[in-house]
Amino acid sequence: MTAAVFIGCSFIAFGPALALCVCTIAAEPLRLLFLIAGGFFWLVSLLLSSLVWFIAVQIGGSNNASVKKNLLIFGVMVSVLLQEVFRFAYYKLLKKANKGLMTISQEETLPISVRQLSYVSGLGFGIMSGVFSLVNILTDSLGPGTVGIYGDSPQYFLSSAFMTLAIVLLHIFWGIVFFDACEKKKWWALALVILSHLLVSGVTFQNPQYEGSLVPSYIIMMLMATWAFFTAGGSLRNLKLCLMCRDKDFLLANQRPR
């Protein structure tokens, strides 16, 4: 649907991620490193899960549509589980790396806190996941046409973009909650994260009824957002403080180091 749709959809899906990168990641080299490494870990998990799905299809291999769909569902579940496994693996790696960095830099505190790491890794996962979801769709959207000649919904590009936006943000929130759960050994929280990820991926099988998939995803995203907010140290009191004493703190905030 031409350049307008291409730019519009890419901004919808990657606008917040871009904003987050520009404001929080770009200035700090360490965060950038961990962001890219996080993206790489997500890529490896995707590679493995696609290998699993490919083998399953070769074994199962028939032209039956329902068998193919079942194999796809199986592939998606395996992919979700592998992503979470790799998130855990990244957590372990980051702990080790942090210890190493501490010995080299001869400082007493860790150069980057686990909370920041969780946010950065979540963002890395989210960006890479979003890119892989949406890039092919974006290149198709550059052409002059739109989806629909075979009867599909013409809202394909828009809903894909919004879904990708939800996934990107969800990965950030999952990252925060996941790392915190690993730190504090709260295994039920871990299970909930994995369950919600499975739920969001599963709900996309409702497409092309986009209301059926987008609405639950956004609801889950809001819930995860609040959970992550509280996990990260926020509270209603802080929120009120922030919103009411806006002017004073805004002026002072720029002078205080973060």
């Binding site: 901004f11 909370r115 739109t146 205080r256």
Partner: protein, 642 residues
């Protein structure tokens, strides 16, 4: 480069055009036109409009009853012999309009792509998409998303030959990676002599040669669609049959004069083949010189004879010459004598009528030679589909009964084949007499079955068992299953030229007992005879029991000479003396249909995207600035580190 896109509109009657040109609210439109409406008036209306981004023409089955010819009313005008210096009253078809149905569409410049839809199923798919999405509901305007079509046909060359050849030559001269934009139309002429001659030297100046000529190419409005049944195929098939009949006569090698059977390629485009041969003869690059030519016999369109009359055309201007006039009379008499007993009535046209468009005119331009052109029309063409996509087997009334297998169809003798065989018989007998033959000519007969096989092979399917048996072994792409097209193209040796070469070799050559190595390398075994002949190793027919073929060696006198306009050799790209036709280069020719959304939806998407981006930038900035407040637990004073 990105193709032309437009909303599809089906035009089935004249009134539908109004929507496209003025009323429709979603320009530009891509018009799907019924073949019957493809006329000059409609096309000129579309040409002037900026609301058209392309056109797809659905071929009309059956062919339009009123005739259709996108060629000129006066074909090859200005490149024949009649000009202000030679027979000015005959120039520019002032005396006879040869192609009155010609609307000249193929010579107009259109700035949008025009495609031909030959498959009725494809046309139906497009019409179905149009009916599902583009039809106005109850008089109201159709709503987005609408069905649209994109036609890719980007042509790299612009303006004219002079411009594109100049650009190409600059590229070749100065660029490391030259991007040429056009190519000259060129191919090869096929010629063969009755008595073998040594092609590496010139023949004796006292030797006389009679040239028999036909064209082997055609054209239509659309690229590479050129069935050319009446305008080319029937003529060269008759010519091939006459050559075969002559070679069967026992005493032909002792005839005083030689006969050269010439098949000119590119005659449709201002006589490319014949002008090149005349040029080569004048420049002494051809074994035969213009002075060796005793007479000229050309077969123009011969398939649609009205009550079996074949008309003999001559050039009135050269007949005023006292030495030419008696020779022409001899020619005509030989022809009339040969038609006794055959179902062909030869009649001369009025002596003040000029020659129709023919290769003979190029020879006359160089030297006055006695010659005739045989045609089935007295004044204007009988062919109502001259140089169009409708000049197919149906146009020359080739009818096969239902239910025949391809092999049976190959061998079935149609009435058209019988009629062409009679013309070939007359021509062969006349040539025998003209070449000085004194024997009885009643034994000279063309074979209708061979004519029918050739007509099948050149008009319906080239991939038949006979063609397969006469071609060389390794040629895979030569024979196809789709309808054969006879366009000269820019790649050398198109299928038509090669097939004519092999058929001529098979019909006029002899089988010799050579091994494959001897046949492929004749210069290895010294033998003075071998200079005069051309040896071809053909794959032979399949044994009915086994799957392998029995190849053999054919000795013939069939040669190829280049048929490229001398204008390109001389680098005179704006020449009015020689043909300067070129074809533009192109990369992609394809089409696709899809739905398009309204501009408003696209702008809304863009605006929403920008809004979300700005919103997220603002939100992130504020959250970042307040992070130390938002994310601190009570009791900690700042970033908590675990």
């Amino acid at each position: 480069m990105s193709g032309d896109t437009g909303v599809i509109h089906v035009v089935e009657k004249e009134q539908d055009l109004k929507w496209v040109l003025t009323d429709g609210p979603h320009p530009p439109y891509m018009v799907l036109l019924e073949g019957e409406l493809f006329t000059r008036e409609l096309m000129l209306q579309l040409k002037g409009s900026s609301r058209i981004s392309g056109l797809a023409v659905a071929i009309s089955k059956p062919s339009p009853a009123q005739g259709f010819s996108p060629g000129l009313k006066c074909p090859n005008d200005g490149f024949g012999v009649y000009s202000n210096n030679y027979g000015p009253q005959y120039a520019h078809c002032n005396w006879t309009v040869w192609n009155p149905l010609g609307n000249g569409l193929a010579y107009e410049d259109f700035n949008f792509p025009i495609f031909l839809l030959e498959d009725a199923n494809e046309t139906q798919v497009i019409k179905q998409c149009y009916q599902d999405h583009n039809l106005p509901q109850n008089g109201s305007v159709p709503e987005y998303p609408l069905c649209a079509m994109q036609l890719f046909a980007h042509m790299h060359a612009v303006t004219n030959t002079v411009t594109c050849m100049r650009r190409s030559s600059l590229q070749t001269a100065f660029s490391l990676n030259p991007e040429e934009v056009c190519d000259a139309l060129s191919d090869y002429n096929v010629w063969s002599t009755l008595k073998p001659i040594n092609t590496s030297s010139k023949i004796d100046p006292m030797d006389e040669v009679i040239i028999v000529a036909t064209r082997i190419d055609s054209h239509s409005f659309f690229w590479n669609v050129a069935p050319g049944a009446e305008s080319a195929v029937a003529s060269f098939v008759t010519h091939l049959a006459a050559a075969e009949a002559l070679h069967k006569v026992p005493d032909v090698q002792k005839l005083p004069r030689n006969i050269m059977f010439t098949f000119f390629q590119g005659e449709t485009f201002d006589y490319i083949g014949s002008s090149r041969m005349v040029y080569d003869m004048q420049m002494d690059k051809f074994p035969i010189r213009l002075d060796n030519i005793h007479s000229f016999l050309e077969l123009s369109q011969v398939a649609l004879r009205n009550s079996s009359v074949l008309w003999v055309h001559t050039d009135p201007v050269s007949r005023r010459n006292e030495s030419i006039q008696p020779q022409v009379k001899t020619l005509v008499e030989a022809l009339i004598n040969s038609s006794m007993g055959a179902n062909v009535t030869l009649q001369e046209v009025s002596q003040s009528q000029p020659l129709p468009p023919s290769s003979f005119q190029r020879f006359l331009r160089a030297k006055q030679i006695p010659g005739v052109v045989l045609a089935d029309h007295r004044t204007s063409f009988q062919n109502r589909y001259y140089q169009s996509m409708y000049d197919t087997a149906e146009n020359i009334l080739m009818k096969y009964p239902e239910g025949l297998s391809p092999e049976e169809t190959l061998d079935y003798v149609t009435d058209t084949a019988k009629s062409l065989a009679e013309v070939a018989t007359v021509v062969a007998r006349a040539l025998y007499q003209l070449a000085g033959g004194t024997g009885n000519t009643s034994a000279i007969q063309a074979d209708p079955r061979m004519v029918s096989r050739m007509l099948y092979g050149f008009l319906i399917k080239t991939n038949n068992s006979w063609f397969q048996s006469i071609i060389k072994q390794d040629l895979k792409g030569l024979l196809g299953d789709e309808l054969p097209q006879h366009y000269i193209a820019v790649t050398t040796l198109v299928n038509t030229t090669q097939l004519v070469q092999y058929v001529l070799a098979n019909l006029t050559g002899t089988v010799v007992n050579f091994t494959k190595e001897e046949c492929l390398n004749p210069e290895k075994t010294p033998n003075p005879e071998k200079e005069m002949y051309v040896y071809t190793w053909v794959q032979g027919s399949r044994d009915p029991n086994s799957t392998s073929r029995v190849p053999f060696c054919v000795q013939s006198t069939v040669h190829l000479t280049k048929a490229a306009s001398p204008a390109f050799e001389l680098k005179q790209w704006g020449s009015t003396e020689y043909s300067t036709w070129t074809e533009s280069r192109w990369k992609d020719i394809r089409a696709r249909i899809f739905l398009v959304a309204s501009k408003e939806l696209e702008i809304i998407t863009l605006v929403v995207g920008i809004a979300i981006l700005i919103l997220s930038l603002l939100a992130t900035y504020f959250i970042n600035a307040k992070a130390h407040v938002l994310f601190s637990s009570p009791g900690d004073g700042g970033a908590v580190a675990y």
